[in-house]
Symmetry: C2
Subunit: 235 residues, 2 copies
């Protein structure tokens, strides 16, 4: 990665973030501009840890981030996969709690932070904006309870198939129309799908043998979307 990537164009990052808030008044935008900071994270670096106190609203401007909770036997559970441009860690901010998951960069990433009090001040005077955020948090709560059910009730094949579809829908496909545009380790794939690494590897090999996917290291090509969806649906 070239050195120049370290130079972040704050203004363009800021404009990207503002794109997520449709009807911001000029004075609100001004407050945000004055209270934003940017940070660069290399692949594998921790953006924040479970238990840390939120200092502001964190926005992922570039890169990919996984959010995971440490589980019972030290086994991690990935609870969310973030893509740009989008927020991370807002749940804890709005709940006035410490972070309930750790955020780690999966690729070199750019993150900017809008200072907590500045942002909450905007919310307190903008019911429409707050209602929009409420809507998206409520939507996410729906995803979460859905996820609880599928992770607990589907069998290994169904869970892995669902994860692959989820990754495809979240990050999209490469230009070939087949390769999932994110390159996770088998361990991450396992932690996303609630299974051991061995089982992720085994089940993935199984899918490849059946011709549903094609494997090339961490690159996963979906050859038969329909069949993959069937595997996911059957559980």
């Amino acid at each position: 990665m070239s050195r120049s990537s370290y130079n972040i164009d704050i203004e363009s990052v800021f404009e990207g973030v503002c794109g997520l808030f449709p009807n911001l008044k000029p004075e609100e935008k001004d407050i945000m501009r004055k209270n934003i900071t940017c940070q660069y994270f290399r692949k594998g670096e921790i953006i924040y840890k479970e238990g840390d106190t939120p200092q502001g609203l964190v926005c992922l401007s570039k890169g990919k981030v996984k959010l995971y909770k440490e589980g019972v036997g030290g086994r991690d559970q990935i609870v969310r996969m973030a893509k740009p441009i989008g927020f991370i860690g807002y749940r804890a901010l709005f709940a006035e709690e410490n972070y309930s998951a750790t955020a780690e960069a999966l690729e070199d990433s750019v993150v900017c932070i809008i200072e907590k009090n500045a942002f909450m001040g905007i919310l307190r005077n903008n019911a429409e904006l707050t209602l929009n955020i409420l809507k998206s948090v409520a939507t996410e709560l729906g995803f979460s309870t859905n996820r609880t059910v599928t992770l607990t009730q589907k069998h290994i094949r169904g869970r892995l198939a669902e994860s692959l579809i989820f990754l495809r829908d979240t990050y999209g496909l490469e230009d070939d129309g087949k390769t999932i545009k994110v390159y996770l380790s088998r361990e991450d794939l396992a932690n996303l799908s609630n299974m051991t690494t061995s089982n992720a590897i085994r089940t993935l090999s199984g899918f490849a043998e059946e011709g549903v996917i094609e494997l090339d290291g961490r690159r996963i090509k979906i050859l038969d979307h329909h069949r993959l969806e069937r595997i996911s649906d059957l559980g």
Copy 2:
């Protein structure tokens, strides 16, 4: 149950609901009063079904309600247990989606509904109230992801112990300081803890043999809170 229970005192129910909104202006309270309806549900009756469209903000004024999603193999997953005075179904309302779970009365219950547009109109003009709701939905999202991890990673004993603690903390104890103040069937207990009914029965018997709890039909007495918490924590 006596016939007179069917006569609901709407005004007192309304005052109870308003208690959940601390700083409501008189005119807002007026709008709510004009847009509220009450309904009585007998034990076992369905308040709304997964897939139904919310007509308003539903408040449980009296009784107990379980919220469950139909799982993969017809196995239900209880996603929430509601107690009075509190709301149910608000997630779908705020997400502008259909209900993602079914609400069923566990006891004879009184429910009141604040008409959707009236309530959303109040929210659109009251950022403070909206922010309060955002906070509680964000808190619940935290519970939900926590739950995903424990339901997937803890073993049967840990999951059941956690459920018993959850029920104790949600509904409290009878005057004896031991008996959990809710009487679920073994099947409900299983659906809450992500296990089969047989395993709920088996594991419950195990706890009783070990002297952690005492069973008397559906009545569950917690004899050793500390040990129950240890079982839950160890997973």
